[in-house]
């Protein structure tokens, strides 16, 4: 079987599973060229789905995000965290009461800044994922110390960002969001808008075929000089367009002009589509709030744009709090929680609440021990998943013991020193759960997630399901 044929079959299988192929059997072009930008939607958007990744650049301090709150765990937390420990009294309002209590009486509360997230949790619209991070295979502390197969360049920011998004360190060119989007390109009339970044270039959205489109925080950016005369001259405007978009012999030259070419065409198409897509839901007036609002408007325009599947990425810096954790962490979490909460409200307004799933990610978790007023680079960390299709009010994963000791005690086998958690849920498991909901099949997920075959087992008393169950 040729590669092309295989691809074609997997695409068809993808569409069938996600209820998309419909009776029409219309062969949609896979083209990523701009030719596809202007074409009319070829299929009614009967079943739209979108994923929104909120990436907290810098390594979020998970221990002060999802706080151990049963009294014995909290006391240990407070003893270890000292000055940066959150006060129990401040956590009452955001204490989580999951539908099914955690084993061993374990309880958690959210950082007080995440009150909207706690509300979504109790409305069954949000779930907590404990101790997620990159793994090659289920790993114990002993195995870590023996240097079994481990993700490359642990604890290094830039590399762990890449590993989270692509399973490879710096230099990687393809991420799992983009790979999942590859499968869906056929179902999208305008494939350029399959993967949209609302801040920064990330490998997460880069597929084998899928490109990432960058939208400004308030929408696509118009190049003024190409939309009207320049210094009174339309000839200059035309010349600018030719120079900045024509094909080039030089590789770098050509890639630069390709980006500009896409920018012009996409701004025209997306700008027009957004003109009629207004969302009434109010968003916080923060950088992330602006970007989330733009994402919501693009989602609202999906029918105009002929899109069935979209993956969004938005990034937020500032999480690398080696110091000033107490003063700065709440602000960042508030920005995240408020924006994700507003996005959820907007999807309800659009009647797409169960079609849009957002989730948090970060370079890594951090140490449980503190260096004064901050924490250092870690590995696994806690995260959120939000949406109408999420089986919410549930805490997924295994609550890690609250301990920083370097002893042979059972409680110290969960971390690799200073409370750096060994993930008990791998990013592959997270990706496969989201990807399956999105419409990807088992074999496709196995191709996209190179270590997935190492999971789906039980190891050292922990189960590692390839479907975490939070998407039903």
């Amino acid at each position: 079987m040729t590669g092309t044929k295989l691809q074609e079959l997997t695409r068809r299988a993808f569409l069938r599973r996600s209820g998309q192929l419909a009776a029409s059997g219309v062969a949609l072009p896979l083209s990523l060229s701009l030719a596809s930008l202007g074409e009319a939607a070829a299929m009614q958007a009967l079943d739209f789905k979108a994923l929104v990744c909120v990436f907290m650049i810098g390594g979020n301090d998970h221990d002060n995000t999802v706080v151990a709150f049963d009294s014995s765990s909290y006391e240990r937390y407070r003893a270890i965290r000292q000055a940066v420990a959150l006060q129990a009294s401040a956590l009452q309002e955001t204490a989580l009461s999951p539908t099914v209590p955690l084993p061993g009486g374990r309880q958690y509360a959210l950082n007080p800044a995440l009150l909207p997230m706690a509300r979504l949790f109790h409305q069954q619209r949000a779930a907590v994922l404990l101790n997620v991070g990159p793994l090659i295979a289920p790993t114990t502390r002993r195995q870590y110390e023996q240097r079994v197969a481990l993700p490359p360049k642990l604890f290094s920011h830039n590399d762990q960002v890449m590993v989270w998004q692509s399973h490879r360190p710096e230099g990687s060119t393809v991420g799992w969001g983009g790979r999942i989007a590859d499968l869906a390109l056929d179902s999208n009339g305008q494939s350029l808008f399959s993967c949209i970044s609302a801040a920064g270039t990330s490998v997460f959205l880069a597929g084998e075929s899928a490109l990432q489109y960058h939208v400004g925080s308030h929408g696509p950016i118009r190049i003024d000089a190409m939309k009207r005369p320049v210094y009174g001259s339309s000839r200059v405007s035309q010349a600018l367009q030719v120079l900045a978009t024509s094909a080039q012999d030089g590789v770098l030259h050509n890639e630069y002009n390709r980006v500009t070419t896409r920018a012009i065409a996409a701004e025209t198409t997306l700008g027009a589509a957004l003109a009629s897509s207004n969302v009434q839901t109010s968003f916080p007036t923060t950088g992330l709030g602006d970007r989330m609002r733009t994402i919501a408007r693009i989602i609202g325009a999906h029918q105009t744009l002929g899109l069935k599947r979209q993956i969004f990425m938005v990034q937020l810096g500032g999480s690398d709090l080696h110091s000033n954790l107490s003063s700065d962490h709440g602000r960042i979490l508030r920005e995240v929680g408020d924006a994700m909460s507003a996005l959820y409200a907007a999807t309800e307004e659009l009647g797409l609440a169960d079609k849009v799933t957002s989730f948090t990610a970060s370079d890594f978790g951090r140490t449980l021990s503190v260096n004064g007023d901050g924490s250092d680079h870690g590995w696994g960390g806690h995260h959120f998943v939000v949406g109408g299709a999420v089986k919410g009010r549930t805490i997924y994963g295994v609550p890690p013991p609250v301990s920083v000791g370097d002893t042979s005690a059972a409680d110290d086998q969960w971390h690799v020193g200073q409370g750096r958690l060994i993930p008990t849920t791998s990013t592959d498991q997270l990706a496969s759960t989201l990807g399956r909901w999105f419409g990807a099949g088992e074999s496709e997920l196995a191709g996209i997630l190179p270590n997935l075959h190492n999971f789906g087992i039980e190891a050292a008393g922990v189960t590692y399901p390839t479907n975490l169950g939070f998407m039903g």
């Binding site: 950016i221 190049i223 320049v230 770098l252 030259h253």
Partner: protein
């Protein structure tokens, strides 16, 4: 547009005369006949043959070719314009720029190197010399030449292109006087002299001189980040020691301290002190720079050395931030390297990690106990609303100082070295830095990234190895001599374009901030270069010394996804900030800047629907365009000039023609206004700066 504007037409050599080969042959044959002597001075008298114009032989083919139909000109070129054009288009005949002379009806020029004369009289153009076989030739009328003089691309001479290319690697500009200096002195000796230039005004001093260190009515500056941004643009635009500044800027993208990350009291002074460190050590010692940076308050804030304290019984641990990045980013990197920068492999073909987390935790102990320096008295505020004294700016400009009681006395074991916990703390730091500095990775790790910043994104391993060896020893046994390293990077055959490394020949995308610096230094009025903020509110913005993280604006290993680079494994770091939003924001930023200067404004306030500016001129960052405004009436000459000083002659002929035609179409009445001149210059410059031949430095 599907076909290449470069590829299709580049081979046409539209600027070469059809008769060039013939004339070259004639010239060689007839050289013996004399007609112009070598060593003749520029003011040589007009030969007698010129006098008898009525005996001139008509030779319309000599310098004529069908005019470009798009370049219709009604104006006649002046004799000067014609002869300038002839020199640039027929440099073989009319080598080197000659001065206008006048005799009788003639305005003429003499070219001693070729022995030829070129003259204009009564609207006709004459040539005499070896090129004409010693016979006076009438090569046509000024009207015949007008379309070519005004509308035809002219080549930048190879010597100028080579000099300009070198200049743009070692500094920010290739202004005409700089090109001339490099040609005259030779690049190597010119460079050596520039690297000896003394350090110009300290940034800390500049801050004080401009009142940004005041504690009184300007107390807002105490925490405002903007002075840090004004400071660095001012430095990059105006310091005379541009080669040093170019190296320092490259260092700032390696030893990253950012005004975003170092915010707090006197952030502007902290950034100024950091920049002074880079400038002061750019051609000094890597080891000394490492030590000074480790004690710099801006670094202390960026990587939280400040207030990192000893471990204690409560479980508190030293902050690991600086220890990790000092190894990962500033010295040895993550994997063991060969001298050529490629990764070493163990016997099983695996990469070898340079350090693990225990090394980080141990090294972190060395950097505990440091806090703000200065020790200077607090300053009273004369602001009546201030009810307390203000800390002296010296607390961020002086090196950090040690509070010994906060310093960890635990033994340090890292990278196989044991440092006693009892050792004096500063000596401990010195030993730790020595261990890192002497690690064999530092040379190739540092060399490759500096080459990427200054020359090409994909240097050959051999190039990296040559520079790494210079890092390891400057030839006099000294390690880490930055002057030797930078000099070797710039003088290397691969930098000078004599490499067969195909990936290296792709060049690099110019950094957006460098384009703005180049524009400012080349065209702007120096006294207006203040309070520039840059791509504020833009996407993928690049403000110098303001990286979003310690990982710089882009990573050295970045491969742009979904491009022709990816399958080849070619990196293009600068493409990490190239995307739909940033390329659009760049053009939106240039359009008003080039025409009106900069002020913090909404661009829609200054351009109406036809793209005509309607606002008042700005006060900041005004362009003089002294050398360009006189060329506004001659698009061919204007584009030739911009190609020379902005692009080192890289603009493809087809792109030049597009720009010339667009500029030529703009209004040009008999008495053009200042605005009409500026419209033309700004348009030509905008088009040049939007063209990939400008953006990519090969």
């Amino acid at each position: 547009m599907s076909s290449s504007i470069v590829g299709v037409q580049q081979g046409e050599s539209r600027t070469a005369p059809e008769s060039l080969a013939l004339l070259a042959a004639m010239s060689a044959t007839l050289a013996a006949c004399g007609g112009g002597g070598s060593g003749a001075d520029a003011a040589a008298p007009l030969p007698a043959a010129f006098v008898n114009r009525d005996r001139a032989v008509s030779a319309p083919g000599l310098m004529r070719r069908p005019a470009s139909p798009s370049a219709v000109e009604t104006r006649l070129p002046s004799a000067t314009e014609l002869m300038d054009w002839a020199e640039q288009s027929y440099a073989t005949f009319f080598p080197d720029s000659a001065a206008d002379q006048a005799l009788e009806l003639y305005i003429y020029r003499h070219y001693p190197a070729s022995g030829n004369y070129l003259g204009v009289a009564a609207g006709r153009v004459y040539v005499l010399g070896p090129v004409s076989g010693g016979q006076l030739l009438d090569v046509g009328s000024l009207a015949d030449f007008a379309p070519r003089v005004f509308g035809e691309p002219r080549p930048v001479s190879a010597e100028d292109a080579v000099a300009a290319r070198a200049l743009m690697q070692v500094q920010f500009t290739a202004r005409p006087a700089e090109i001339a200096a490099v040609k005259q002195r030779g690049f190597a000796s010119w460079l050596a002299e520039q690297m000896e230039a003394p350090r110009s005004t300290s940034a800390v001093v500049w801050m004080a001189q401009n009142g940004y260190s005041n504690t009184s009515t300007l107390r807002k500056y105490t925490t405002l980040e903007r002075p840090a941004v004004w400071m660095i643009w001012q430095q990059l635009w105006l310091v005379p020691d541009a080669v040093r500044a170019r190296a320092a800027l490259a260092l700032s993208e390696y030893f990253v301290v950012s005004s975003l990350l170092a915010s707090g009291m006197w952030v502007g002074q902290a950034m100024a002190a950091y920049w002074d460190l880079l400038m002061g050590n750019a051609f000094g010692s890597f080891r000394l720079l490492l030590e000074q940076l480790s004690l710099n308050a801006g670094m202390g804030r960026t990587l939280s050395i400040l207030d990192s304290r000893a471990e204690d019984e409560t479980g508190r641990r030293p902050d690991e931030n600086y220890a990790r990045e000092l190894m990962q980013l500033f010295t040895i990197g993550l994997y063991e390297l060969n001298i050529d920068g490629t990764e070493r492999l163990d016997s099983q073909g695996r990469k070898i990690e340079t350090f693990d987390n225990d090394d980080v935790s141990n090294l972190a102990r060395v950097f505990t106990g440091y806090t703000y320096g200065g020790g200077l008295p607090k300053l009273p505020s004369d602001d009546p609303t201030m009810d307390r004294e203000i800390v002296n700016p010296g607390f961020v400009t002086e090196p950090m100082q040690l509070y010994a009681f906060r310093h960890s006395n635990a033994e340090v074991n890292f990278l196989g070295t044991r440092i006693s916990g009892k050792m004096e703390p500063r000596a401990k730091m010195g030993q730790a830095l020595d261990v890192l500095f002497n690690h064999p990775n530092v040379g190739p790790f540092f060399a490759r990234q500096m080459i990427q910043r200054l020359v090409t994104s994909n240097p050959s391993p051999a190039y990296v190895a040559r520079i790494a060896k210079v890092f390891n020893s400057n030839g006099r046994g000294q390690r880490g001599d930055l002057k030797a390293v930078f000099s070797a990077i710039w003088l290397d055959a691969e930098a000078r374009g004599q490499s067969s490394n195909p990936a290296g020949r792709l060049g690099k995308l110019s950094e957006p901030m460098l384009r703005i610096v180049q524009w400012g230094r080349t065209f702007a009025r120096p006294e207006s270069l203040q309070k520039y903020v840059g791509f504020e509110d833009a996407y993928g913005e690049q403000i110098p010394l303001r990286s979003p993280s310690v990982f710089n604006f882009y990573r050295p290993g970045f491969v742009p996804p979904g491009t022709a680079l990816a399958p080849n494994g070619w990196v293009a770091p600068e493409f990490q900030i190239v995307h739909e939003a940033s390329v659009s924001a760049y053009l939106n930023h240039l359009e008003p800047l080039l025409r009106l200067g900069f002020r913090r404004m909404l661009r829609h306030e200054t351009f109406d629907a036809t793209g005509r500016w309607v606002g008042s001129p700005t006060e900041n960052v005004l362009a003089d365009y002294d050398a360009e405004l006189p060329l506004a009436g001659n698009p061919s000459a204007l584009v030739h000039h911009l190609n020379r000083v902005m692009c080192a002659g890289r603009l493809a002929v087809a792109a030049q023609q597009i720009i010339i035609d667009a500029v030529a179409s703009m209004p040009w009445p008999a008495n053009p206004t200042e605005d009409q001149r500026r419209d033309r210059v700004a348009a030509a410059l905008l088009l040049v700066m939007a063209t990939p031949d400008y953006l990519v430095q090969t």
